[in-house]
């Protein structure tokens, strides 16, 4: 097993009577991508900002790279890189100047041009920060987070507010970080992001973990089994399915039916064939983390995110 780089035990953060982080414990291993997944206000950012020495904790024990987050702040800062939530750099400095600004704050740093190349920002090297698109700003932010060649990189909601293409670019950047041997701590409220990038993750809600493990473990344990989607059914098909599987979801001409057991799929196909109706296709999907969250909390993570204006 890889070396443990972060140990959190019983971490608690209270604001008055509100408990934002409620006695959570976890470990992060060297070289992995570890994610905290949850809706806004779940306590993700509070947790990572405590680890980044940006906020004081109320209780608990946290060690980053073996160091105490209260006493060894300066030493920790030298060895971690942070892309804060809603990251901004200096509007009227160029990409390179911004990287140099933050880099020069450290005694030891990487050359700006190496980072610009690594983040594929060569064309924007001399562009003012304020003229960059959201995705390019985030990439600049990651470049800045890397400038002190940190062992651990914290990325707090790196793809929030980005269009799908830019989001995928950011994912690529995160995969590259992992390849370089960096430990990455990611917070996100995008299920797909957590699922595709994380080695391990914790789903957090109201300051507590409600699920923890590899994406596969979590889905297997808390998921609701595979589902069959029959699309573009005609009336005959729809009625037959509704009759036999009333618990399915029916929206317009589509039917979604949860597979209760191994035989369910063949039963559905058989029933459809026998009904004599027409449909376009049958699709089987594995449950996602979204289903896990829905299953565990009765709420949808994405809807909450949207309701919060993100």
């Amino acid at each position: 097993m890889a070396e443990t780089v972060i140990t959190v035990s019983g971490l608690t953060k209270r604001y008055g009577s509100l408990t934002a982080v409620d006695a959570i414990s976890f470990e992060v291993y060297a070289g992995e991508v570890f994610s905290l997944l949850g809706p806004n206000g779940a306590g993700k950012t509070t947790t990572v900002e405590i680890l980044e020495c940006l906020r004081p904790k109320t209780a608990g024990d946290v060690r980053v790279l073996g160091m105490d987050i209260d006493k060894q702040v300066r030493d920790i800062k030298k060895r971690i890189g942070v892309l804060p939530q809603d990251f901004n750099a200096f509007d009227l400095l160029t990409v390179k100047e911004n990287i140099d600004y933050f880099g020069d704050m450290f005694d030891k740093r990487l050359p700006a041009d190496d980072l610009i190349k690594a983040m594929d920002l060569e064309e924007k090297r001399n562009e003012w920060f304020k003229n960059l698109s959201g995705g390019l700003k985030q990439r600049t932010g990651v470049a800045i987070a890397m400038v002190n060649d940190p062992d651990i990189v914290f990325l707090d909601e790196p793809s929030t507010g980005l269009d799908p293409r830019a989001r995928r670019d950011v994912w690529e950047v995160i995969r590259n970080l992992k390849q370089k041997g960096k430990t990455v701590i990611l917070t996100t409220h995008y299920m797909e992001e957590a699922e595709t990038l994380s080695d391990r993750l914790g789903i957090i809600d109201h300051g507590k973990f409600i699920a923890f493990g590899t994406p596969r473990e979590i889905v297997d344990k808390y998921g609701t089994g595979a589902r069959v989607i029959v699309s573009n059914c005609d009336n005959v098909c729809c009625d037959t399915l509704k009759e036999q599987w009333p618990q399915g979801e029916y929206k317009g001409k589509d039917a979604v039916i949860r597979l209760e057991n191994k035989n369910a799929l063949s039963e559905i196909v058989y029933t459809l064939d026998r009904s004599g109706g027409n449909y376009e296709q049958i699709q089987v999907t594995r449950p996602t983390l979204e289903d896990v969250f829905l299953n565990l909390t009765g709420r949808k993570i994405a809807e909450e995110a949207a309701a919060n204006g993100k």
Binding site: Y15, F90, Y101
Partner: protein, 365 residues
Amino acid sequence: MANRVWVAFKADVKGFWRNKSNVFWTIAFPLLLILLFGAIFAGSGTVNVPIAVQDQSNSIASHAFLDALNQTHSVSLTFIDRNANIDQYIHDNSPSVVLIIPDNFTSAFVPGAPNGTATLQIRSDPTVQSSGIALGLLNGIAQQFNLQIAQGGNIIVLTHTDIVQKHFKFIDFFLPGVIALTSMTTTIFWMVSVMTRFRTNGIFKKLMTTPITRYEWLASQILWQLVVVFISVGVIVLVGVAAFGMTIVFSPIAIVTIVLSSALFSSMGMIIARFIRDEETASSAANAITFPMMFLSGIFFELSSMPDWLQGIAHVLPLTYVGDALRDSMVYGNDAAALGNMAVVAVLAVIFFVAGVLVSKWKTE
């Protein structure tokens, strides 16, 4: 540490030149001020303050003092009979300023004299604008005399002292006020706006993840504001001299006062910024602080012409001391008084800086 201050400073310089409206206002604001005051007061011509003098001493010493006063070319003296009743004279002639040199004036200059003080009596009409100038001039000369005596010089030397020997125009008296005002508004507005912006857009949070400390960052901002203030002062001086033929004397005391004033008001800006939530409120808050100070601190109006309660307020406003120090040094040539006021500014600058560092927080709870 010095390195990090320098890095942050350089970024300000770059950002400044790239923001054209920033550059424009840094130059336009002082330009407007000086043109405005120039237009209002340039027509006033040279200052000539009438002073009625009762020279009860009628001695070499008192003549030396009056000579020095005459040397300023800013006064015209009328002499009152030694034995005249002053109250009667004031009643009959309504002079705006009366100076009474006491009988024992000479004895004050005899080393080891038992009664080594001479009290110059000045009576002035506070409603007359020029009386404040007369007070300043008299005060300056008196201080200069005292200094000379304290250093063991003799009376003859006194007649040669150049204290204020230029022809002052009325506008010259406003120049220190304009400089004091600029050093205040420039720095307060900058600090309040930049700190509010960096807090809301997350730059402070990002800075916190690096080794730079609050002290280092604040030091870089004060350093940068010094440069901006001196650019503004440069504009004021250039236009003042070129357009209005102002007489400008910069002593080291004036320069140091401007430096301290910039630090003082930058620090005050930090403290104000602590209580501002968003950028929209930032400039109104800065206005709310700077506007009253501009009018209450006597940088443009002689304090002596204000009601007592206003004078009381003026004496607790830092800008008063900046204005006084600059005027003492640049107009009256009264270095002793200038140093005193400068010392007050220095102490306030330290207090405000420490308070500013203590209250300004990057950390979120």
